[in-house]
């Protein structure tokens, strides 16, 4: 047993300690597992030998994932750590012995992979997502599966069939979404780091609301094979971590040679270097006026302004840039993503896996009742929206047009990156909001993605780092100090290393203290 609590270490520091023989992998895993088992935020949908039921009222009985057989290797964890070390991952991988929490929507062989949906309750895939196996092959161990908005549709994690996740900074508030369980688990110190996915902001926004680092890589950099799809042309996996170095370390494990099982995956040019920059001399930061004005909460804008002054003090040149079509990005996104989701979710039909409604009189009845029972309200809304915009007579006005807006947004960024190196915006227009505050109004919920969606449509990398605390519009967080605000930095495709370097320099200067949430 180490003198200090090993869960205080960052993932990179823990990996170093394990490699140096100062910390045992089993000890670290068990320490996190103990914390995860004591979780009061509802971050997990699966931990070894334990699995929660559906949210109250939505499940009668049976089919609990915990009853299901679990394949060894991936699921090896607490209680059998010796066995894990014998037959498990290589002890000398770069991530050897560091546990990772994985968003529910990644398929993990023999381990429940439910994408936050009732329709996949207890579903045990026969294979593992490439992103997960890249991490476990580098030595990481699977700590548990994390809660999320159903099929990654949401910005508050209130759309999970397994109940909402609470924000560790203020349990009356949401952690953001859709990777809300991943973000809250990392922020609360229940996991050293987590693997999430980002379609329109689903890594960056919860990272911002929970005061941690979240990176959405270039589209194609990380394989989508085995990620239960929301919107195929936008979905991208990435790290949620306590600091920028950890984000670089996990990204390094995720990217590399392209996955031949994913036709859209790409070879990553060069290595991801662990960031070391302390200054931003000569770095031109562009502030798009379209994403930094109306609709952004006062406290968030103030924190953003302070962050810009800090950047300047590190030597950066801050200037204004135009992204003329960015205000239309949200519209294009809420056409393209639902359209793709309506098709991606057609496979949930009660035939091969997942829920099937009982007592159907015929096939049509079985389909419609299964999907009625299995999908939550937000998923239904988006399936309906997507089906509508693709339906006969509407394609050109909606989907076709949205794809053209996407072209303009890609061009906007291209032009902007001729002028500046990186673009900076607030990650989310508000700090963490209260549970239930926006769930009655889909449109106001969708506006959470206002600053993150343009980068998703353009397929470019973007990182959110905590840049300070701000009071919510109406009140302040516990202790009156405020809630975390995220700063988003975006760069051209495959500029991850530059992005991480700049984020590293800023992180040092911000000296954001997230330990309150881990208490």
């Amino acid at each position: 047993m180490s003198a200090t609590d090993p869960t205080q270490l960052s993932a990179a520091a823990a990996a170093r300690a394990i490699a140096a023989g100062e910390l045992s992998a089993a000890e670290l895993h068990d320490a996190y597992l103990a914390r995860a088992r004591a979780d009061e935020l509802n971050c997990f949908t699966w931990l070894p030998d334990w699995s929660p039921g559906l949210a109250a009222g939505s499940l009668a009985a049976g089919g609990s994932a915990a009853d299901a057989p679990v394949v060894e290797g991936l699921a090896a964890g607490g209680g059998q750590t010796d066995g894990r070390q014998a037959g498990g991952p290589p002890a000398d991988g770069p991530l050897a012995g560091v546990p990772v929490a994985v968003k529910d929507l990644f398929c993990t062989e023999g381990v429940p992979s439910q994408s936050g949906s009732k329709i996949l309750q207890g579903y045990l895939p026969p294979y593992t997502a490439t992103a997960v196996s890249r991490l476990t092959e580098a030595g990481a161990t699977l700590l548990g599966k994390t809660n999320q908005d159903e099929f990654a549709m949401g910005s508050s994690n209130e759309n999970s069939a397994y109940g909402p996740v609470l924000n560790p900074w203020d349990r009356a508030r949401v952690p953001g979404g859709s990777s809300g369980g991943s973000a809250a688990a990392v922020a609360a110190g229940l996991a050293p780091w987590a693997l999430g996915t980002d379609t329109g902001g689903s890594i960056r926004q919860p990272a911002a609301l929970c005061g941690i680092v979240g990176l959405k890589p270039t589209y194609g950099a990380v394989s989508r094979y085995g990620m239960i799809a929301f919107a195929s042309s936008l979905d991208q996996a990435g790290p949620l971590t306590r600091d920028v170095t950890d984000a670089a370390l996990m990204l390094r494990g995720l990217v590399g040679e392209r996955d031949r099982r994913d036709a859209t995956s790409l070879d990553f040019p060069g290595e991801i270097e662990l960031p070391s920059a302390e200054r931003l001399d000569g770095v031109r930061l562009g502030v798009p006026e379209e994403l930094t004005g109306e609709g952004i909460e006062r406290g968030v804008l103030d924190a953003f302004e302070r962050a810009l002054r800090t950047a300047e003090s590190l030597g950066a040149a801050v200037e204004s840039v135009r992204l003329p079509h960015a205000p239309h990005a949200l519209s294009a996104y809420y056409i393209i993503a639902p359209a793709e989701c309506s098709s991606n979710l057609a496979r949930f039909d009660g035939v091969r896996y997942g829920l099937r409604a009982e007592g159907a009189s015929d096939l049509l009845d079985m389909y419609t009742q299964t999907r009625h029972d299995g999908f939550g309200p937000e998923v239904k809304r988006r399936v309906m929206l997507g089906t509508y915009v693709l339906s006969s007579g509407y394609y050109d006005a909606y989907y076709g047009r949205a794809q053209r807006v996407r072209t303009k947004i890609v061009e906007d960024f291209r032009t902007a990156f001729e002028q500046v190196d990186l673009i900076v915006t607030p990650t989310a227009p508000t700090v963490a909001f209260e549970l239930g505050e926006k769930s009655g109004d889909p449109l106001s919920m969708y506006l959470n993605d206002f600053c993150t969606v343009p980068m998703s449509l353009a397929g470019i990398p973007a990182i959110s780092i905590p840049c300070g605390l701000a009071g919510a519009e109406r009140d302040l967080g516990p202790g009156g100090e405020g809630l975390p605000v995220g700063l988003q930095l975006a760069g051209p495709a495959f500029s991850e290393s530059r992005l991480l370097d700049a984020a590293h320099a800023l992180e040092r200067a911000f000296a954001f203290d997230g330990s309150a949430a881990r208490a």
Binding site: L330, A332, A346, F375
Partner: protein, 103 residues
């Protein structure tokens, strides 16, 4: 903007049963979102090509080489209903058909 009739038509296409009390809110919420997204109608996009892949790549073909299949018991393991080594589904009545295979 979207009426009850349209909601039911779209729900039919999506094979999604909506309870009676879900129909009116769905019509209202879809209308609100559509009203917002229709904002892109203002843009002049006549000469703009659509983007379906942000990164212009092509090919990515697979060599015609066999890979191992799943054992049948694994393929069937998660199925809600199984009979005679296959996935059991309720009777098909008057639905469409596929690729010339009759219903």
């Amino acid at each position: 903007m979207i009426d009850r009739e349209q909601v039911l038509h779209v729900a039919g296409l999506a094979r999604l049963r909506l309870a009676e009390e879900e129909i009116e809110p769905m019509a209202r919420e879809l209308s609100a979102v559509l009203e917002h997204v229709e904002w892109i109608g203002e843009l002049d996009l006549d000469d703009v090509l659509p983007t379906s892949h942000v990164i212009e790549i092509s090919g990515r073909l697979r060599a015609d080489e066999p890979e191992p299949c799943l054992p049948r018991e694994v393929a069937l393991a998660q199925a809600p209903a199984v009979r005679d080594e296959g996935f059991l589904v309720p009777a098909v009545r008057g639905s469409g058909s596929t690729n010339g295979q009759q219903a």
